[in-house]
């Protein structure tokens, strides 16, 4: 049907690879720096934001291509995207710190387009949580050349691992002759936790010289490399925090100069139960998608006011959709749900842009709408994060990577 072909036209628009000079003309500019504009212009050139000025652009005489929308924000940043293909995690060992998830990514996968449609321009891609220490995650743009290397914002950005039952799920003791390695992997929460401690101590006491992952663990323990630990439930959150405090306090680590690890709790659904613990230990968290009926994975319970609770307790937090392609689960909607839970708009905006950017150490390039930063921009049809508002265009590094197509008015975005 030509219906599709029309939609295709819209897609093909998103194919031009050259960064263009844009003038973006909106009713609202939400910079994420607290300084917002009514009726403003955002100018883009050479893939960077070149100016943010008030004005309606009528008198504007630049040769730029003009895009009009209701609002513009910085491109969204999702610090919790799961790479859901099983070939992304090396299960022949349960601790594989040195393996790079970047090597497993498919630049042609459809997930990138889905993220672009949702306004997400930067993600932290992490392996499936089948390993205790899964490896090195990568921060990359969702739109760009069809090569992971060319899209990477920060290689080896964080060390990714998991607490809880997921790394031990499916493993089994061997009765008689073991048939595969699943029989020598941890089968309990405590086994998982022990693997962590074991890896840390071996590194501190230098018992793993041969281990290709040692260098990575050293960097992590010295705090040069943030450690993202998945921990859905209170007990796992506590375990993670206590593990860190143990590393900070034990002399072995001090002696080796490896007592300053930086932890980030990922998928902390039950963070609302012990905000003080997180506040006290200054542990930032990444929240999982909001469940629609209370409980979510690991049978944890996530209250809709969790974001507000953390905000009030002064715990830095980011929201995440875990990379869902579903319309109602997209990151923008997660921000909306957080607002439904009592969070203010500016805080919601920060939780999907500047905060995750900071947690990933890429705040110098993305996360806010400021002159000199990457031209990663999202154009909205209305007030961002409202279900009645959609992403009408996504720009990555100055390239229009997604142009929404409107069933009713044709092009969703005016030029």
């Amino acid at each position: 049907m030509t219906f599709l072909s029309v939609a295709l036209v819209a897609l093909s628009v998103a194919q031009d690879a050259e960064p263009r000079a844009w003038t973006i003309q909106v009713e609202r500019v939400y910079t994420g720096t607290g300084r917002n504009l009514e009726k403003g212009l955002v100018l883009v050139s050479a893939g960077k934001i070149s100016a943010v000025t008030p004005g309606a652009g009528e008198e504007d005489d630049r040769p730029n291509d003009v895009l009009k929308a209701y609002a513009v924000t910085a491109g969204l940043v999702d610090a919790g995207v799961r790479v859901t293909n099983w070939q992304s995690v090396e299960q022949s060992k349960e601790v594989t710190p040195h393996l790079r998830v970047a090597d497993t990514l498919d630049p042609f996968a459809l997930d990138w387009d889905r993220q672009l449609r949702g306004g997400v321009t930067t993600v932290l891609a992490s392996p499936v949580d089948r390993n205790v220490i899964g490896g090195l995650s990568v921060v990359l743009k969702t739109g760009g050349p069809e090569s992971i290397a060319d899209r990477t914002v920060k290689a080896d950005a964080v060390l990714r691992g998991s607490m809880g039952s997921e790394p031990s799920a499916g493993n089994h003791p061997a009765f008689g002759r073991p048939t595969d390695f699943f029989s020598r992997r941890p089968t309990t929460r405590m086994g998982v936790e022990w693997e962590w401690r074991n890896a840390f101590f071996d590194t501190a006491l230098n018992l793993n010289e041969e281990d290709p992952g040692r260098a990575t663990l050293v960097a992590a323990l010295q705090g040069k490399l943030p450690i993202f630990i998945q921990a859905w439930t209170t007990q796992d959150i506590r375990t993670a925090v206590f593990l860190r405090e143990e590393v900070e306090s034990r002399p072995e680590f001090a002696a080796a100069g490896m007592n300053t690890p930086r932890f980030v709790i990922d998928a902390a659904a039950e963070a609302w139960k012990e905000p003080q613990l997180l506040a006290r230990s200054q542990t930032p968290v990444v929240l999982p998608p909001f469940p629609t009926a209370g409980r979510t994975r690991e049978n944890s319970q996530m209250a809709w006011n969790v974001a507000k609770v953390l905000k009030d307790a002064g715990v830095p937090f980011a929201l995440s959709s875990h990379g869902s392609g579903d319309v109602e689960q997209r990151l923008a909607n997660q921000a909306g749900y957080a607002m439904a839970g009592g969070l203010g708009f500016e805080d919601a905006l920060a939780a999907v842009t500047s905060t995750p950017a900071r947690l990933l150490g890429v705040e110098d390039r993305v996360g806010t709408l400021e002159v000199g930063k990457d031209a990663d921009l999202v154009l909205w049809s209305g007030e961002p994060f409202q279900p009645g508002t959609r992403v009408v265009a996504t720009i990555v590094d100055g390239v229009l990577r997604y142009e929404g197509w409107n069933a009713v008015q044709g092009a969703a975005i005016a030029r």
């Binding site: 219906f3 009645g388 008015q409 044709g410 030029r415």
Partner: protein, 472 residues
């Protein structure tokens, strides 16, 4: 929110969504001039023309002039559009996977004109204009097949050439798998038999087919009998009525007499009620037997997928007495041994000339590209099809035919197999399959002889619409 809406209305360029149907080329009056017009295989007119109007071929000759305003198409070779008698293009993937159909299940209920247009266009560009599609090609019973046109966006009547072209069954064993060579295209889930059938399964499958046919036969007989009984009954009733009117007095006397006799004999008098004679009961309606009966009666052909010699032998034996049954064997990898009987009983074989490799040891021997040639030279009528599983395969029917030719089938036999031969076997020869006045205008214009891989289709005309031109 209100402001947003106002803004939307204000700012959004009101370019229409343009959700119109793909523009289907209109029917035209067309005069096709060609160096060679293949009316039907073996009958070629040189320097001839074909006149098309209102979707029909109105004239074929060597001295036709273009009427006023007619579109003129020049070409070297012209022949009827190819028919793929064993295709999956046009029927929904769910139907292709169907495993529980009955004789009365209609493929036409599973047609999908909404998807795979890109494959239709490719097939048209290769010269294939129509195809027989079949629900449940892997199932024991696939029900009624249908012949459809491949041009996208046709209205139902034009899309469907025949909504009951045949009855389909398989004799237990699925087609040979082709290794990497067959790629089932997206959205098509083909479910063959859950396990590789053993010889007993095959025998059982053939028995099932034969007994089904028997049931259909009995049903047919019962129906005919019932028709006669009914006639007799109505006649009898009519007579009695007449008699009663005519001889009312006599009847009255008789009655009184009978009454008296009864009283004398001290018996209870019983009135004779001839009208109570039961009206003969019609045999219970059974939709499946209805269809089987039609097949037994030769009103629709019965296509049976059978590969192994044992199945074919059993099938031929089991259907001997069914004189009017029009059997077609599909697959027939090992039909060679029965070629003589097939030829003698005029049972066509629908061959799948697929270059299959050695996937299972027995397959290479079973499936051989020379099959078509061998059967043809033994006098068996040959049809060629693309296998009925992968919608994309229909495009390559001409190439498969080419392989059959390379391995011994004559070009004319091959061409017949994919045009008029297929049309005859599927009871659509009155509409498609050859270039004759009165038939639907499904024809192709080529830059070389048909079925040569290096020949290109320049124009494809489907029911009077030019659906392929060198430009598009």
């Amino acid at each position: 929110m209100h402001t947003n809406v106002g803004w939307l209305a204000l700012v959004l360029a009101a370019g229409s969504a343009g959700a119109q149907e793909a523009a289907m080329p209109a029917r035209e009056t067309i005069l096709v001039r060609a160096e060679h017009v293949i009316v039907r295989p073996g009958h070629v007119l040189d320097g001839a023309q074909v006149l098309v109007r209102d979707g029909r071929i109105v004239a074929v000759g060597t001295d036709l002039e273009a009427p006023e305003g007619a579109r003129v198409i020049e070409g070297r070779w012209v022949c009827a559009g190819f028919i793929d008698p064993w295709s999956a293009l046009g029927v929904g993937g769910d139907s292709i996977g169907e495993a529980n159909a009955t004789a009365a299940t209609r493929t036409v209920d599973g047609l999908d004109p909404f998807n795979l247009d890109h494959l239709r266009r490719e097939a048209l560009r290769a010269g294939v204009t129509s195809a027989r599609v079949q629900l449940g090609p892997q199932a024991r019973i696939g029900g009624l097949g249908a012949v459809v046109r491949l041009a996208p966006g046709l209205a139902h009547e034009e899309f469907v050439v025949s909504d009951a072209s045949n009855l389909w069954m398989t004799a237990g064993l699925s087609q040979p798998t082709g290794g990497q060579f067959i790629q089932a295209s997206e959205g098509v889930q083909v479910q063959g038999p859950e396990r590789t059938p053993d010889p007993f399964d095959r025998a059982e499958a053939v028995d099932r087919i034969v007994s089904l046919l028997q049931a259909g036969k009995n049903y047919l007989i019962a129906q005919n009998e019932h028709r006669h009984e009914l006639e007799d009954w109505t006649k009898k009733i009519a007579e009695k009525d007449a008699e009663l009117d005519k001889e009312f007095k006599k009847a009255k006397k008789d009655r009184e007499k009978a009454q008296k006799d009864a009283e004398e004999k001290g018996k209870k008098f019983e009135e004779k009620k001839f009208k109570d004679e039961k009206k003969p009961q019609a045999p219970r309606f059974d939709e499946d037997n209805e269809v089987l009966a039609r097949a037994i009666d030769g009103r629709i052909p019965l296509l049976v997928g059978a590969e192994r010699a044992a199945e074919i032998r059993a099938l031929l034996a089991g259907t001997k007495e069914l004189g009017r049954l029009r059997l077609v064997i599909a697959g027939g990898s090992e039909a060679g041994s029965k070629a003589a009987e097939l030829a003698e009983r005029r049972i066509p074989v629908l061959v799948w000339p697929m270059p299959l490799g050695r996937v299972r040891p027995d397959e290479l021997d079973g499936h051989d590209l020379s099959l078509a040639g061998r059967l043809a030279s033994a006098g068996v009528q040959i049809l060629l099809g693309s296998g009925g599983r992968d919608p994309a395969a229909t495009r390559d029917l001409p190439l498969l035919a080419g392989l059959a030719i390379a391995h011994g089938l004559s070009r004319d036999d091959a061409l017949e197999a994919v045009t008029i031969g297929a049309a005859r076997a599927l009871d659509v020869a009155d509409r498609i399959g050859s270039i004759e006045a009165g038939k639907d205008a499904d024809l192709i214009v080529l830059d070389g002889p048909p079925l040569e891989t290096t020949t290109n289709v320049r124009f494809t005309i489907s029911s009077g619409r030019v659906v392929v031109t060198p430009e598009n």
